[in-house]
Symmetry: C2
Amino acid sequence: MSLTEFELIERYFHACGAERGDVKIGVGDDAAVLQCPADAHLAAAVDTLVEGVHFPRGSSARSIGHRALAVNLSDLAAMGARPAWALLALTVREADERWLAEFAAGLGTLARTHEVALVGGDTTHGPLSVTVTVLGHVPPERALRRDGGAAGDAVFVSGTPGDAAAGLALEQGRLPPGPHAQYLQRRFLFPTPRLALGERLRTLAGGCIDVSDGLLADALKLARASGCGVELTASALPLSAPLRDTVGLARARELALYGGDDYELCFTVPAQALEQLAAELPPAEWGYTRIGTLQREPGARVRDEHGVRAVHAPGYDHFAGG
Amino acid sequence: MSLTEFELIERYFHACGAERGDVKIGVGDDAAVLQCPADAHLAAAVDTLVEGVHFPRGSSARSIGHRALAVNLSDLAAMGARPAWALLALTVREADERWLAEFAAGLGTLARTHEVALVGGDTTHGPLSVTVTVLGHVPPERALRRDGGAAGDAVFVSGTPGDAAAGLALEQGRLPPGPHAQYLQRRFLFPTPRLALGERLRTLAGGCIDVSDGLLADALKLARASGCGVELTASALPLSAPLRDTVGLARARELALYGGDDYELCFTVPAQALEQLAAELPPAEWGYTRIGTLQREPGARVRDEHGVRAVHAPGYDHFAGG
């Protein structure tokens, strides 16, 4: 091996993200030094992607780089925060230059799109995993919280949940490829953090959560934190045409409710703010859909053609599900 | 498996660190929300420990928890920053409650000692590794940097380097246990981040780096960043009595120069500030020693009884050495 750890970090990650004037000391010292705006609080999130758990072995390095940052940006979006800086802890089995270049391209492209500077890193030797920490800003007392919902609030979701779960199944060969395979796989490999929507929702939404473990599971987390239950309406779920065409309506609804890796926003809006929401953020333009209601009764329920049924322990859990 | 990921995080890490009034939203939402002081910059560092690379398989969970935070606090110490918050990304093969309780005790005890709040986390399933991100504060334009040294500056190190390398060798059975085994093993298992010293050095030191890859390797990094070379004097190395007694003088010097995992501070002080340093921080009280000098000539050199010799590519590299 000819590259030292130091050279590796220097070469691929020094100029990987956006340039920002508020980075006083960036990659290359013991710690980064950053200037926070005086009128904002700091938002901070961390997420790890492990090979074989969060992405299949042999996944494209570009996708892994993109997703490692995207899943964290999605957490900031769910708080209504604007991202600024990221730190990368990368564990790889070997220093493969081509892999690293692709990984850095995936992470760097998304970082520059959202003006995120990569300010620190640690590269270690071991089974492939990526941990990204993102830092951003949010006006004091204005962060969107999970516990901001109330019984009677309308429940919304952005985008078209279920696509990513179908994309993962295609990646893994569990679903036969069809004419929409590429679209669905891209929804898994390159999720879109809903940062602009999150920021606009600060003044409109009650509660907000990012959808990573499955829409119903995450909606239930929001409902529980808000001291409520949640009822979703199957026929209201925004299913993409590629998803419906590929797996049929019933399976599409299942994937939308229980599939993971969507990185969409699930948020609640009080009845009296619904008109303002529609006026300020036209749904057709901003891409979100009303899918249900927070209710006083705890638990998660789905309403479909056959009535309302309670759903227990929905969604993906890294330990329970394995 | 009966615990869900969410319950795991809640149970062990919710109240693990210090309580701080500047944590507006802590563990349990999509991101933490933190209030930064108006008169400080933010310092941020990330480090990963991988089982089998940074600690032996089967290491005590309490030590792993302590070290995962300590190595990051050491990075903040090297910047002269005061820590405030930490985020934990923990990857474990299984949700072993006893292991998690011990790990949380190790991390939490050190966190509370330094008033660090644990504000975010992600627990995932996979080969054991721990990534901690620490955030702290440092007065604007006062951070200690690697590139702050100059030719002629005196070079110092805190503590007694080499102890941790001997401790690791004892842990791995590469060194036969003797009467000092416990002391040396503790220096590896429970390193002490030199935070108080780092803060005091802000007004006194030129350059500073934390010693993790070996004293000579890290002193050379500081020298290079400062556009210099470095000469260390073997007879000046502060060797602990347990280390000398266990491995003899010659091997003790080698471990002090080339062994890793010390988490001490290596710093430089201009000649005209040496008196002030000794007056404000009496060496006997603060535990640091002059070990050499920054020089105009690039590279690393060691002076001993036989003269001065150049040293090439010293120290541990996770890829080159690994």
